[in-house]
Symmetry: C2
Subunit: 673 residues, 2 copies
């Protein structure tokens, strides 16, 4: 055993290398310095949540080590150039056996920092928040900036090209939920305490280049011998979800719109077709306004008395049928509404340089941005949630948006919006969290968010994978929900789900019946089942228009409800250990094929789900890692390998571990087919 391995923190003076728990993390090398300081000027423009960000970089100074002070659990490096010390990096082991790296600028006004972490060419990297195109981040760089995902996230698709004409196209890294956290296959995590714009570059064979647009408060590294322990350890630091209300196990949460009568009629129709319902989710509960894009919700956040008259009474009636009502809210308030005027009078909105309310364009209507840095505004909006939603019996809601904080607003606390921007989704999550926790029965409530940030582990109860396209495309369609769940799961976001059938229908993309069915089959093996009518309900397939699809959905809800004991165990594990409900295969199986697998997942420890994510498939090729597997539908046994298995509609491939404590339950479910 070498000295480096004996010590938790070891500094090799000659090699100028820093080793933590046997992992070499930093090494000063010619042309590959540990730290680089810089000065840049950001150039940011936003169009409806889509950002164009450029850096005018003036200075980039690689630093050399000028001095070091080392003992067994603490190392202080002084870095600089030309005999001037510019940066101090303190490396220290904390009480949780983490390595804490604290950068401190000694002189100069620097707003760019690059830290280079030593890598092996064979390393894999995971995390980065919720990433939808690449589960394994190695080989790419990831700008970390909260934004609309973009319509089309692959620059080689025609959809993206078309969306780019409208400044609405995305790229492989665009996400509602970026986070400066990653997991290395050397079995350590690295988390940076900062919300500033960052760009983590994993494209180089010998190092990871972490770029920050502000000096981060600190970086923390933790290690473990296996991934589950590592993720639990990270979750200990970042927080864990509160779990899900019991009633979500009752079936699907069905997304409907159009007012009480229509909702009630469709509800009955679904029930007649034996669809098991947990909730009615009506995103238009607050009424609608008409724009040239069609109907848009009216963002004043109170029940609309025309569309949903006497909503409170209706909610009570539905609850007697064991059906919950879910609503929709976001942290913006439409101009000229009563709520807007109230908030404006109190100065609760973010302001322009001139001191007026900063109005953000959401597509032919303008909104004020609730200024969460103002404690009074925060409380005010929390009370809106409490009074207008919780108090009338609403048990769940989509807590939408959070990614739109413009970078040129003036905030109450005068903090820099460039740094607040990425934090905003967490503040919005916390506002929901506090509203819930202060209520009489927090355990009955659920809110789901697409935006996230460090802290969403605790404050974001349930993630949803954002606005997937209503198609089979790799970067935007059904399959992109898998890396979304897996990557966010690696950073401690343990509960995710998605819009069954997808959301975004643009440029001729129309949801098919088959897509809806395959999506529902997959959703039965996620924490929550919830449908969405999509952004253009009338042009897209809707389950309630089709008897066959209702029968199929009924079957999926039957599977889902039947699976409740297992799912509850999985969710309980999330609550207590931070382990994600949907887990990558590499978490347990050290096989090359598992490293990059992002079309399959483990649901809990014992179910392997390999959803059919292509149209017109009667069978499906599945990769099974080395274990004893049983096909949920056929009962056939398998060991590790690649197999072509039957996959008729209704039976997306699922396998359970022969050693599971739930084999009897799984057999019962398999018999439902």
């Amino acid at each position: 055993m070498t000295t480096a391995q004996q010590q938790a923190l070891f500094y090799d003076v000659e090699q100028q290398a820093i080793t933590f728990q046997g992992r070499k993390l930093f090494q000063q090398q010619p042309n590959c310095p540990i730290a680089v300081l810089g000065q840049g000027q950001a150039d940011v423009s936003m169009y409806r949540g889509n950002f164009d960000i450029q850096d005018h970089l003036l200075t980039k100074w690689p630093l050399t080590i000028q001095d070091h002070q080392a003992n067994t659990d603490r190392l202080v490096l002084t870095l600089g150039t030309h005999d001037t010390a510019y940066l101090c990096l303190t490396f220290q082991i904390d009480a949780q056996a983490q390595l804490i790296v604290t950068p401190e600028v000694l002189t100069g006004s620097w707003n760019r920092l690059w830290l280079r972490i030593v890598a092996e060419p064979s390393d894999n990297v995971y995390g980065g928040g919720e990433q939808l195109s690449y589960f394994n981040l190695r080989g790419h760089h990831f700008p970390l900036w909260s934004s609309e995902p973009g319509i089309g996230r692959n620059k080689h698709t025609l959809t993206t090209f078309q969306a780019d004409q409208d400044h609405a196209g995305g790229d492989y890294y665009t996400t509602n939920f970026p986070e400066a956290t990653f997991i290395s296959s050397q079995k350590y995590y690295c988390h940076a305490t900062t919300y500033a714009y960052a760009d983590f570059d994993f494209s180089q064979p010998g190092y990871y280049d972490l770029q920050f647009w502000a000096i981060p408060e600190r970086l923390q590294f933790g290690t473990a011998d296996d991934y589950p322990s590592l993720i639990s350890k990270l979750a200990d630091q970042l927080g864990r979800t509160q779990g899900l209300p019991e009633w979500t196990n009752n079936g699907v949460i069905i997304g409907l719109q159009g007012g009480t009568e229509r909702v009630e009629a469709i509800k009955q129709k679904l029930q007649q077709h034996h669809v098991q319902l947990a909730g009615l989710w009506c995103q238009d509960w607050e009424g609608t306004q008409t724009t040239s894009f069609g109907k848009r919700n009216y963002w004043e956040w109170r029940a609309d008395s025309k569309l949903y008259p006497q909503l409170k009474a209706h909610i009570q009636n539905w609850q007697q049928e064991k059906l919950q009502f879910l609503a929709y809210i976001n942290p913006y308030v439409v101009e000229d509404s009563d709520l807007f005027n109230e908030g404006a009078a109190h100065g609760y909105f973010a302001k322009t340089q001139a001191g007026d309310v900063y109005l953000v364009d959401f597509g032919e209507f303008l909104c004020g941005v609730v200024d969460f840095t103002n404690p009074a505004a925060y409380d005010w909006f929390k009370q809106v949630i409490q009074h207008n939603l919780i108090d009338i019996g609403i048990k769940g809601w989509m807590a939408d948006f959070g990614e739109y904080l413009p970078t040129d607003v003036v905030l109450y606390d005068n903090s820099d919006p460039m740094v607040r921007h990425n934090q905003w989704p967490m503040l919005w999550a916390k506002c929901n969290y506090d509203a819930v926790q202060e209520s009489a029965h927090p355990e009955e409530l659920v809110y789901f968010m697409r935006a996230g940030a460090t802290g969403s582990q605790k404050y974001g109860q349930l993630l949803w994978a954002g606005d997937q396209s209503v198609n089979w495309s790799k970067d935007d369609g059904i399959v992109s929900t898998i890396p979304a769940a897996l990557s966010s799961g690696m950073v401690g976001i343990s509960l995710s789900h998605s819009d069954i059938g997808g959301y975004t229908s643009m440029y001729g993309n129309i949801r098919s019946k088959e897509l809806f069915m395959r999506w529902a089959e997959m959703a039965a093996f996620t924490p929550v089942m919830r449908t969405h009518e999509g952004n253009r309900p009338q042009q897209n397939f809707q389950v309630y228009d089709d008897d066959d699809a209702m029968a199929h959905l009924a079957s999926c809800t039957q599977i889902f409800t039947k699976l409740t004991p297992y799912r509850q165990a999985v969710v309980n594990e999330a609550v207590t250990s931070g382990l994600p409900a949907q887990r990558p295969l590499m978490m347990y199986y050290d096989e090359p094929a598992a490293d990059n697998c992002q079309t399959e997942y483990l649901f809990g420890r014992d179910l392997l789900v390999a959803p059919v994510v292509q149209p017109h498939q009667a069978s499906w090729t599945v990769y099974l890692p080395d274990d004893q597997w049983v096909n949920l539908w056929t009962g056939e046994s398998y060991t590790g390998g690649t197999y072509d298995v039957p996959a008729p509609i209704g039976q997306t491939p699922v396998f359970y571990r022969q050693s599971s404590a739930f084999t009897e339950l799984f057999k019962e479910i398999g018999a439902l087919k």
Copy 2:
């Protein structure tokens, strides 16, 4: 008069500002230094002449002025940081009253240099070599790297999107002919003596940021009171064309393929339709090979005895009809041919790191790259031109390519291919130049090139605007030939022309008859008329298939030949003064509308050409700067303003100056309609 204006070179010590001929060029300011040094590592990949270039920038150090030594015609600045001097900039007035700025690195191994030149927000900037999307460069940055222009040079077009799938799309700055030279509307030129990759950024209101990927030998600045004098002064430095052979005035050079019989038959048909011919240009004179893309020429550079048997005798026959034969050549030699084997045996090709011949993929066939840094290889290929072309009576040729020098070749002189790359077109031009100048009758010969570099002013006899798309698109079609001629004209490239009808037919773009006709009308008012059958001759409109189009072309050639005395005067001005044949309106007219005008041009001093560059136009809106103008076709008089004028097919709008010495000639041409 201030001191700064009194002196040619003035250094204001307090302001740290350098003024040359009354123009403030440099000023050290906080966050806006005169010079920045850096270190970067280029990451270059090439796919068939399309380059992807990234910089891994390690260091960027803004420098401050540490010392200065000044007298009336010489200033030496020492720049550095932390009391270390890194760069010396010497500013000196030369015998031609130019300001010569010479950077010298004092210590360190730097390969990036930024120089910032003071700008006024209202400045316009021109030049940059041959630029096809923006004549006025202000507001954009221009990477200067010789490459294929790309199929589609506008990222918002579907064509570009489609081409990008094949790594063949371009961007607004991609050009066969970049040059580190620009003209400011403060009436000075700036030319950098370097062929290294550069990026000139004119997007900032207060400065121009000139980035170089090697320390340039020097920058030179010259001033004048008007643009014609300024361009002449620049041409005195960079060189001037030899002009054009007399026979090019005889009519159109017609692009044909398919062997002697087909060429002769079409020639006769055209003559029967009264098309006046100057030459027959057969790019397949060296024979063809078949690839999956279709027929490609066989790059061995000798007459193919099957397609063109007894070519020398045929050439003599055609010459008796006053018809010249033109061929095609480029500086690559197809693998396994006799010429290749000969060159390889002598080591005349660029090599791989392993010492083998470096083979470049040109689309299912591989070629060696003639190594022009090897004097013996240069002479060898010059003799190929002399023996295989000139000696058999060929009087002109397309000297194609030059942009493909890979950046990982090993050259004979071991020079850096990153620096040679941009120079290669000039070396290729010079090889042609020398072949011509050493021949018995250089004045009878013409070669035309699309690639260029500093030195092409002298060695590139005639530019052609590259591979336009066969359409009306702004960045790729007919109209892009105008900024191409105007921008290259601003840096002393005085003779340009284009493929009548365009070249590139891809992704469903097909040449129409109307496009061909409008292009021919325009070409009658350029130095040379030449057609091209395009890359897919059979799918595109060909003039010889259409009686009506042949009559139209006959009319255009009649105008062209009739215009000869005027055109000769214009070409003579190019030879003696370096003034371009096609001139931007801003060269003579100080009007805001002239600053950005890139759809019209002056042909010589007296003709204003406003080509119809949209389909289905019976009339056309023209902008006329303040002068006395006469419509060439109607005889109507105009003063400055914007007018809608008749523009039937055959009469693209052209105006002459009432004060011209050629008014009688112009009247005769107008009567030809």
